[in-house]
């Protein structure tokens, strides 16, 4: 514990800016992955334990597109869409067969899928470390704000993640298809009785969740190493975010992701040996005080 250093940091504008920006970056990438996880749980009622694999797929397909086109825009789009397409196929051919089964069966199916996806990545891309590299537009010195440093690429990541989150919120809350999806989450039989193809909707929602994970992977590809199995590391933190925010709540995922990001960032200064502990401690505290999560629906 180093409270003196933490107090010194909080009293310094440069340190506060650097640490807040660091927390936002970590938090917003987590939000993208966790919001997809939350969306799938909220509508389909299943926990997609294989969600990290779509983050990995997004990163690898973005790398592939970047190597072929040298366009970062194309890489982001291809990475996200490829993860979405694979997600739709995964939902239709595999996950849809275990709807209604107990969680253990779903967990086993997802675990098998993780192993298969990891091996496919190894076969297609190799087992060695890969990195996309920083696009030229962002290969610049960090921007100085109040004496603190914020890399330009991280500002871009924040904007992209916020835009994706806002788009998702508007789509769910302000559009007709969003209304149908919300209705599907509450009463799928009624939606089906109205002549709406619920299977298609389920696949679409699952795919959208995977697009968000894929976008997170594609955004991470220039700064995080790509290896088979990379999805597992973000999956655990995403679950923590989902639990803190409330299972199925996208605004909850945003709040929780930012909390986790800032906890990690300032925790690294004041409690360097207990950063992971702080994160799990926060989760435990929320579960005790509000078991349904910060913005989750209370169980009736």
């Amino acid at each position: 514990m180093n409270l003196e250093v933490l107090a010194g940091c909080l009293a310094s504008g440069a340190c506060v800016v650097t640490q807040i920006s660091s927390g936002l970056i970590v938090g917003m990438l987590l939000f993208l992955v966790a919001s997809g996880l939350s969306l799938i749980f909220g509508v389909l009622g299943i926990v997609n334990f294989a969600h990290g694999a779509f983050y990995m797929a997004g990163a690898y397909f973005a790398l592939l597109a970047y190597e072929q086109t040298a366009s970062f825009t194309a890489a982001l789009a291809f990475g996200a869409l490829a993860a979405g397409v694979i997600g739709v196929a995964f939902e239709r051919f595999i996950m849809s067969r275990v709807y209604g089964h107990d969680v253990l069966m779903q967990l086993l199916v997802c675990y098998a899928a993780i192993l298969i996806f990891d091996d496919l990545v190894k076969i297609l891309f190799g087992a060695d470390y890969k990195l996309m590299g920083m696009p030229d537009a962002f290969a610049t010195a960090p921007i100085q704000i109040a004496g603190g440093f914020v890399p330009s690429y991280y500002i871009f990541m924040l904007v992209m993640a916020l835009a994706a989150g806002l788009g998702l919120w508007l789509g769910i809350n302000k559009t007709r298809i969003g209304k149908i999806i919300r209705a599907l989450a509450i009463n799928p039989q009624m939606v089906g009785a109205l002549g709406i193809n619920t299977k298609l909707l389920y696949a679409g929602v699952f795919g959208l969740g995977c697009v968000l994970a894929g976008l997170a992977g594609a955004l991470a590809a220039p700064v995080r190493s790509l290896t088979p199995g990379m999805g597992l590391s973000v999956l655990i933190e995403s679950f923590i975010v989902t639990v803190i925010g409330g299972m199925g709540s996208i605004p909850g995922a945003l709040v929780a992701a930012l909390l986790i990001g800032l906890t990690r960032s300032f925790g690294a200064i004041g409690f360097p040996l207990f950063v992971d502990g702080l994160m799990f401690g926060l989760m435990a505290l929320v579960l005790v005080v509000r078991p349904s999560g910060l913005l989750g629906a209370k169980a009736s």
């Binding site: 970590v26 192993l115 190894k122 470390y129 590299g133 597992l232």
Partner: protein
Amino acid sequence: MSENRGAIGRRMLLGGAAAGTAMLAMPHVAGAQAKVIRVGMPTTLSGRIAILGTSSRTAIRYAFSRINEAGGIGGRTLEVVDRDTKGRPDEAAKITRDLINNDGCEILIDAESSAGSFAVHEVVRDIPVLCLHTNSETSSLTADPKMLVKHAFRCARQGVHDAVAGGVYASAISKERGLKRWMTCSPDYAFGRDNTAEFLIFAKKFDPGIEVVDQIWPRLFAPDYTENITKILQVKPQAMYSALWGGDLVSFVEQANLYRLFGNLTFFSSSLGDPPVASAIKQLPQGIHTAYRYNRNYPAKPANVAFADDFTKLAKHEPTNWAWQNYVACEFIAEALRRTNGRTDPTALSNEISGMELKTAFAVDEAITMRASDHTIIGYPVPWGITIPAAPYVKDFVPVDWAQILEMEQEWKKDKGFA
């Protein structure tokens, strides 16, 4: 007639039963008569450190193909039987038993990381088979006399050797440049903590002016290091040591580049000298100090360059540190088999390997020696160099005298109660 042809006679039955019983009772005799010598290889072939297993396997297959193409060992050929332990020590132990008992492997190359290697070591303590550990760098595996197993050897670099070499190299630079405020950033598990502690022991021994102002321990396989990098920016050390490795090191360097961290810091890395790591980093900063892991230009021998070229053709990437270690292990095995005329008896092979001076492309001088006292190799490359942005990624290697390493190692062993 047809009934007689199809029936199994009493003598045939008894003969078959006797032969079968003999085969089951004496697997080594049955094995010794086989044309192919099967070499078992428990290793990690999946997950985030799959490259450890895949690059080790490629090196072994390449070595065996060369040996077999040259006529094998007294007409017998070598074949590797690899199994994925998934990086789990319990699985490594189980697979090792299976390779020996069920797959007919007469020799083992344990290409597991440290956690798995200790598990394999305990299996071969009970089942006598020649075993070469090729990827574990944890010193105690062979330095601790309680760990000694007569037919188990380490053909890999050892933590304490690298720590002495790193301490000698880093302290010279710290004295020259007046680097007093140091910080470390290493993965939070046994290897990361041990490696960092050993490096600091020797760096401080040679430059007592070094003061460690902070240490950070990101967890192994952490996806993001931003919080650690911004912490370093706040502490503002003059120099830094890191035992981060593999994909973690790739992420750290690339994320640190965004903050221009390396411009104001003298950075020492234990693992940046691994070519697949260095080549994965798109903007490898110039001037980072790194320990040798592997380099096609060091030792400067044509056979080393040929190995790098051939391996790269097969693996589609430059050799790893694990690749040369496994290749040398195959050379040790082949040489021992030649001396025993192809006999795989573990005692006979161990007697040959113990103390063997192997002439190889990877020796600093003429040979790498398998030290008889503690069954570990010495005389392998332990220089430090500095990074350059393009291949071969590391240049200006500064060798460290092995006599000094051995002297310091002996002192360290005494302090640890190992000698």
